[in-house]
Symmetry: C2
Subunit: 257 residues, 2 copies
């Protein structure tokens, strides 16, 4: 059995890494749409269109389940993908919510993400239904900071405080990192706010899959596809997944005419 | 006669504004590829492909000249576009170089831009030929800062100093803002380095066109096309071009199959 994972770029490799660790025998196909990254500042319509193209590419490999690692795509395109496909489609929002519910004690949870993820209210709506008070904040500078490799030091700390001080001021005890890039800033966030519990999508989804009791018996093969070989991809790829070979593809080949 | 202007996003509206002011009678068509912005961290191959698609769209209006407002596209795709089209194709690099040559006294010029623009050495090669000593620095955080609206204050100043202190330390007397977004940070740069002469692509290209003695006699009509109606577009559009109506189009409709 095999799993497809897709993300707007390379952030989802944090999910790839955790899933690969949790299910060593599964055949895993990863697609990062690096030619059109980021999704987080694009409209709902465009995010759905790109997500459908990515999903179609991965289903071509006969995958048995699709993980939407991108929070923006999970927030905007999950329903469309579920209607379109006849395999389980798993977003990162629900697993993140489940993990936050277990961690929070005072029922005040912060959510940070891209502008699109926050505007969709995907996390807030699910958490509100479970009686949680939610404080949200889009952090559009976090993705470029991470892609630039500025994950600690004066600039990183100032930008982190620029967004998160306000949430901490609201008395949250748990913070959901609602974007696959953000775990790379986790050390700086922990240093500035050691008392806050952090929910990281990649760990949340690996835990979620484990609890679903899915069986992935394959040959443990790994394939990584990207739509552009960008500099930040080259820089972060080795850190995240080592020497797995990467194949470049074009999604516009399957565009609608 | 009519002019087409294309950019990876909305930064090129600074060029649109200056050209519209300089040539009030010209019919001007602007295309911002906001669905795939930014180009500056993508590979040469992908930047060329996107630029060709944008140019094809604009030439469909029978334009008499094409301005490539995006520095990344000017650096990577200008030759391809010149070969492909039988109208004048004008990039921003040469006009910026001409203006810098007039401004510098000590022949030490700094160039800042996206990673792609700097890697292409497009500015450096032209300036070197004219006997100028060039100091280059990619500034990947500037575009997201501008799109976030953080153009002044503590974070903006710290990020500007993070990149530009080093160039000023090399004794430059002139700095080329080699990206259409950067003019929006000009006030902060001027405040931190009042002694440095600044070259702004939008002014440089308007001056360049003026010197070319081109005649654009049209009805003074203006059309703006974008590929995605993003939040940052909505925020900056009014500031840059007022109430000109905007039309959303899809470039993937003309993709190669």
């Amino acid at each position: 059995m095999s799993i497809g994972i897709f993300d707007s770029g390379i952030g989802g490799l944090t999910v790839f890494r955790e899933v690969a660790k949790e299910f060593p025998q599964a055949d895993i196909y990863y697609l990062g749409d690096t030619a059109r990254v980021p999704y987080g500042n694009k409209s709902k319509e465009t995010v759905i269109r790109y997500s459908v193209e990515a999903a179609r590419y991965l289903t071509g490999f006969g995958i048995d389940a699709l993980i939407v690692a991108c929070n923006t795509a999970s927030s905007y395109a999950l329903e469309t993908l579920k209607e379109m496909l006849d395999i389980p489609v798993i977003g990162v929002v629900k697993p993140g919510v489940e993990m936050a519910l277990r961690k929070t004690k005072n029922k005040r949870v912060g959510v940070i993400g891209t502008l699109a993820t926050i505007k969709s209210n995907s996390y807030r709506d699910l958490l509100n239904k479970r009686g949680i008070h939610v404080f949200q904040k889009p952090c559009p500078l976090f993705v470029p900071l991470v892609e630039e490799g500025i994950v600690e030091g004066e600039i990183a700390e100032l930008v982190v405080r620029n967004y998160i001080d306000e949430l901490v001021g609201e008395g949250i005890d748990t913070l959901i990192l609602g974007c696959t890039h953000y775990p790379l800033l986790k050390d700086t966030i922990k240093k500035l706010y050691p008392e806050i519990e952090i929910v990281d999508s990649s760990q949340a989804i690996a835990e979620f899959l484990h609890n679903e009791d899915l069986k992935f018996n394959g040959r443990g093969s790994r394939r990584i596809f990207i739509t552009d070989e960008s500099e930040s991809f080259k820089r972060l790829k080795t850190v995240l997944v080592g020497d797995i070979p990467v194949e470049k593809i074009e999604l516009s080949e399957i565009c609608r005419i």
